[in-house]
């Protein structure tokens, strides 16, 4: 186990997750998850509501503490490092949140420039140039003086991507990039992810429940259900899979509604906590 892990780290894996368990209070949300993310690949984490996929993402970026297991990012186990070491890793990753999570009291430009102003000693004029560059990359040139509230949903997400790109991260995380967007705008965001992938060879991890988007952008997929990995493989392998649970998800077979009140309540609380 130990040797195989270091082997895989030396070769291509940027992120290695080993037997990851996450609890909220008494409830275990993730039941021992293990997978690798290779350098430069786009991995899509698929799963339904309450499957634990958002919790997995939040744990990967250090927003939730696992109860056991290891997460290796760029050769460091982030479950066992100090705050300052974690901060050093966080400067190399970018995260685009579901609703954008732009700071409402700052302009789009100030939002994108914030990591640069906080973590670098660049001249203000250099920051201005980088800021224009990042906004151009996401197709928002000229919007630096707008407030987030003046942007549409799709533009907010683009601005959030620009902010995630600010520090030129090696790994980019997306939480539900197409949630709450109409299909055309959502396709635009998918296109943006593809462009980033081709332009920068970044490692990209996307959490979504949108199948169309997953097929389009993924190199590999992980299907998560009830806190366990059901299947992992390339897009083609997933398409060809005969596993019932995978087929059900990919073919969008309806699941009978939860009938018992207790189960429903449990599902609700799970859903709310995993947000």
């Amino acid at each position: 186990m130990e040797s195989s892990l270091t082997d895989s780290l030396e070769t291509t894996a940027t992120i290695s997750v080993r037997d990851l368990r996450v609890n909220y209070g008494e409830r275990e949300i993730l039941h021992g998850i293990s997978f690798d993310v290779n350098r430069g690949e786009t991995l899509v984490i698929l799963g339904g509501s309450g499957s634990g996929k958002s919790t997995l993402l939040r744990t990967l970026v250090g927003l939730e503490q696992p109860s056991s297991g290891e997460i290796w990012i760029k050769g460091q186990n982030i479950t066992a490092i100090s705050q300052s070491e974690m901060d050093a890793i966080r400067k190399k990753i970018g995260m685009s949140f579901q609703g954008g999570a732009l700071f409402g009291s700052m302009t789009v430009g100030e939002n994108v420039a914030l990591p640069l102003r906080e973590h670098t000693r660049l001249e203000e004029s250099t920051i201005e140039i980088m800021l224009r560059l990042k906004l151009e990359q996401v197709g928002l040139q000229g919007f630096e003086y707008y407030m987030p509230s003046q942007l549409s949903g799709g533009m907010k997400k683009r601005a959030a991507v620009a902010r995630a790109l600010a520090m030129d991260p090696e790994i980019l995380f997306f939480d539900e990039p197409s949630a709450g967007l109409d299909p055309i705008i959502a396709a635009g965001i998918d296109q943006l992810i593809l462009e980033l992938k081709q332009a920068f060879r970044m490692t990209i991890i996307v959490v979504t429940h949108e199948l169309a988007s997953a097929y389009l952008i993924a190199d590999r997929m992980v299907l998560i259900d009830k806190g366990n990995i059901v299947a992992i493989g390339t897009t083609e392998e997933m398409r060809a899979s005969t596993q019932p649970r995978v087929r059900q998800f990919l073919d969008r077979v309806a699941e009978p509604e939860v009938a018992r009140e207790l189960d429903y309540l449990q599902m609700l609380t799970e859903d709310r906590r995993s947000r």
């Binding site: 939040r58 966080r90 949140f97 609703g99 999570a101 700071f103 409402g104």
Partner: protein, 265 residues
């Protein structure tokens, strides 16, 4: 037995809450006094804009309220003093009760209503919209970025506001003094100043600094512990106001008692 465990439970919860407040205050103190020497400068710009919000913008309403309080104090004091023919002591009564107690307290209550609630709402909304999470993933400490400037602004502005409140209270009292107690305005003011010891003012100001720290800690802690959903922001805000008022009164009692026993010896 069940009663005992309930009492024990609420005591534990209360202590845990105070512990969380102290830990938040401690981290803010670290970012104020230690981190600047380790290359993490204080956000002066944010502190100044907070100070403007907390302090300067509170002046109109605070002036009005404390002017009325001063006038009320004068009326209440005169009601009793009049019977002893000691109505000229109205100036003393107003000056002392304003600067020792009511100036700091009324200022704190006004600031809780304006800023303590705003802190909880602002940070709570940022929690709900994942902005706090975003800060963390950008390796920016929310305590450093959001909370510390608020602590600095409040610890500086509350004493300033309190001095202003004391002044407005004395002016309010002078309205009664001039109209009903045969004072001239200058004599009323000099009678007020004569009756005050530096100690009266300083104890009030020390209390006001403690109030400022308490209000910020509660407002920010309630904001940071907001759950999911917009309705939780409302809950946090309400809790922030109620807890702040309660804790400010507790802090007031502790420090008043402390000053009382210290001046005894």
């Amino acid at each position: 037995m069940q009663l005992l465990s309930q009492v024990g439970g609420s005591v534990t919860n209360g202590l845990a809450y105070v512990g969380a407040l102290a830990s938040l205050g401690g981290r803010a103190a670290y970012y104020t006094f230690v981190a600047p020497f380790q290359g993490k400068p204080i956000r002066f710009q944010r502190a100044v804009s907070q100070a403007l919000d907390v302090g300067v913008r509170a002046l109109p309403i605070l002036s009005l309220i404390t002017f009325f309080i001063g006038l009320i104090l004068a009326l209440q004091a005169a009601y009793e003093l009049r019977r002893f023919g000691a109505i000229s002591y109205v100036a003393t009564a107003v000056a002392i009760s304003m600067s020792r107690e009511l100036g700091p307290l009324i200022t704190a209550i006004v600031v809780i209503g304006r800023s303590g609630s705003a802190f909880a709402a602002e940070i709570g909304t940022m929690k709900v919209t994942e902005e706090i999470d975003a800060l963390e993933t950008m390796a920016i400490s929310p305590v450093h970025f959001l909370v510390t400037p608020k602590f600095i602004a409040m610890a500086v502005m509350l004493p300033c506001l309190t001095i202003w409140a004391n002044t407005m209270g004395i002016l309010g009292g002078s309205l009664f003094g001039v109209a009903q107690a045969d004072f001239t305005f200058t004599r009323y003011i000099s009678a007020s100043l004569d009756s005050l010891f530096l100690r009266d003012i300083v104890t009030g100001l020390i209390k006001s600094v403690m109030f400022g720290i308490t209000i910020t800690a509660v407002g920010c802690l309630e904001g940071l512990s907001t759950g999911a959903g917009a309705e939780q922001v409302g809950r946090s805000t309400t809790r922030a106001v109620v807890m702040s008022i309660f804790l400010v009164i507790v802090v007031d009692l502790v420090f008043t008692a402390l000053f009382f026993f210290m001046s005894d010896h």
